[in-house]
Symmetry: C2
Subunit: 336 residues, 2 copies
């Protein structure tokens, strides 16, 4: 599966920043892949990209129409069918990260066939995977892991990729969630893979490579999250990371969605992940910490990161406020 | 999903004991649910049950025709279609644990509809699951965990259930694999669940219960297996076990299917599983060890178990040679 750029990002009638995370991720990290955004009546949020119609987007060369919003349940509402049909009739592929499949709507499937375009349900992996082998692969790998879900593993991964590229390193971002897949143009929605194949799918996602090449594998969930630790474990074993970056969010009192579950400390998170990672890479090293400090001022955020850095003897940054240069310098020294 | 007994076990033309594991499991643990076995020309193995035709089985009251064999790839070969159609035409439900679905063969689906029988593809969970919550549930739970795959977790679970029933305890076996599901008549093939729902599906499988009630949850994989640790982790968190039994097989030099991966020690296995289990049940206790000692003599097996028991201060038995009484006595004292 390969998503063809450039994209037109459709944000529907969203009124909540979080619900257009997918569109916003693409606009923030790959503006060069996006011709603009389109919305519907009532929409109050924006990716910041220029607004345009399907016709205008096609004139600007857009190849793919992206449903860039989410709703609870991941429902594909019938009221969007006419807009999707218009995009198809103009020769655009359509990408959806919703739970409901585009390909399950006969009207859309027929139109896509007629106009020879692809319907890409990126939340539903198409490939047939093998079970993992744990065999060492050539090239280097970095995995982002978290104290919790939604602490910034994707942003950290992309910020690391950007910094490593700026330092002239040979690097690829490997997407494991739907937002990341839109940004990378390819990847595997790892939490949608049948559980027998979590680590096998990750091995496929990050194959043998040049010795100096780095894959930055986007982490998912957390080994400390009662719902998702299985996914995190399979991803950890399958990506056999040489380097780990620990991601954290400031001022959370409990695990996402679970008020009864306490937040693990950074030390516990390091210990848990390193111990588990050693099964497929005994030489694994933690090379840095990233913290989403958006809940406090820049100064308070910086003070927190400095304190963590001192306590753990590792670089610690906010990937959005500070970028990941410091971590890349540390990584470079460790793996020279 | 509920499989209706009694069963006719079809073993095809199998020539290898391992390939009829599913039929053999049902015959060994639930002979009262099986009227007999049926085979095809060339078959050289048996469950030990009386041989009969579909017609004879129906006369004896059989309600379900079971494809009790496996092949590499889990293929449903077309040469078995006529036999399956005959069972359907006689009013029997059909159970398959193969990867290929009965319901995907139009001819079988049509016949099933016409004769009002069910096609049960037990390797393909039908339910829509929720993500896990980690919330404590009432009742008690025991999970079998392993140093590796295929070390006897299902046999241990069933042996424990039998011993606990004999001691008058209130207990249910909760199946998580296809053999177990056939034996229990219900369950969830946990390694076939989408990875986002591993622990959520396990929570559903073992719901709130009476305070003195025990669920014996069948373990899968191993936290030390690079391919399957994700499944084991989700199952561990979702079953929130009060008690763990560690299962092991004697004289294995490496992990199943992975000659490059060393076998973990019993001590390591205990440590790994207890540490991970504490996330959803801080009071978890190991109550015993079971060892498949079939590769050595009864005396050597007994000597090994005695040595382990002494070293770890826990009961240690071969569940087939010794039964699980010793573990149940220990459990009883610990949870009185």
């Amino acid at each position: 599966m390969q998503i063809t750029a450039p994209y037109l990002l459709f944000v529907g009638d969203a009124t909540d920043e979080l619900s257009i995370k997918m569109a916003k991720g693409a606009a923030d990290w790959r503006p060069e892949l996006c011709v603009g955004e389109m919305n519907a009546d009532g929409c109050t949020v924006t990716t910041g990209l220029p607004r345009m119609s399907i016709e205008e987007a096609v004139d600007k060369g857009a190849k793919t129409f992206v449903l860039g919003f989410a709703n609870s349940g991941g429902v594909l509402e019938t009221r969007w069918h006419p807009i999707i049909l218009e995009a198809i009739s103009k020769g655009m592929d359509v990408v959806s990260g919703l739970h409901d499949k585009l390909t399950s709507v006969p009207q859309l499937a027929e139109a896509a066939k007629q106009h020879k375009v692809q319907l890409l349900d990126i939340r539903h992996p198409e490939s047939v995977f093998k079970t993992g082998t744990g065999l060492p692969r050539s090239g280097k790998r970095l995995l982002t892991v978290g104290t919790d879900c939604s602490v910034g593993k994707m942003y950290t991964s992309l910020s690391l990729e950007r910094a490593m590229k700026q330092h002239g390193m040979d690097v690829d971002f490997r997407a494991t969630g739907q937002c990341g897949i839109l940004i990378a143009g390819q990847g595997v929605a790892i939490d949608c893979v049948v559980s027998d194949f979590i680590s096998g799918a990750t091995e496929t996602l990050s194959p043998d490579n040049r010795e100096a090449h780095w894959d930055i594998v986007e982490g998912q969930g957390s080994l400390s999250h009662p719902a998702f630790a299985g996914v995190s474990m399979g991803l950890l074993h399958g990506s056999q990371p040489d380097a780990l970056v620990i991601c954290h969010a400031l001022n959370r009192s409990h695990m996402r969605g679970l008020p009864h579950t306490a937040f693990p400390s950074l030390e516990e998170t390091i210990e848990l992940n390193v111990a588990a990672a050693k099964l497929t890479n005994p030489d694994v090293k933690v090379v840095g910490i990233t913290v989403n400090t958006s809940s406090v001022s820049v100064e308070e955020g910086r003070a927190y990161c400095d304190q963590v850095s001192k306590a753990l003897s590792l670089p610690c940054v906010d990937p959005v406020r500070d970028g990941c240069d410091e971590i890349v310098h540390y990584l470079y020294k460790e793996f020279l």
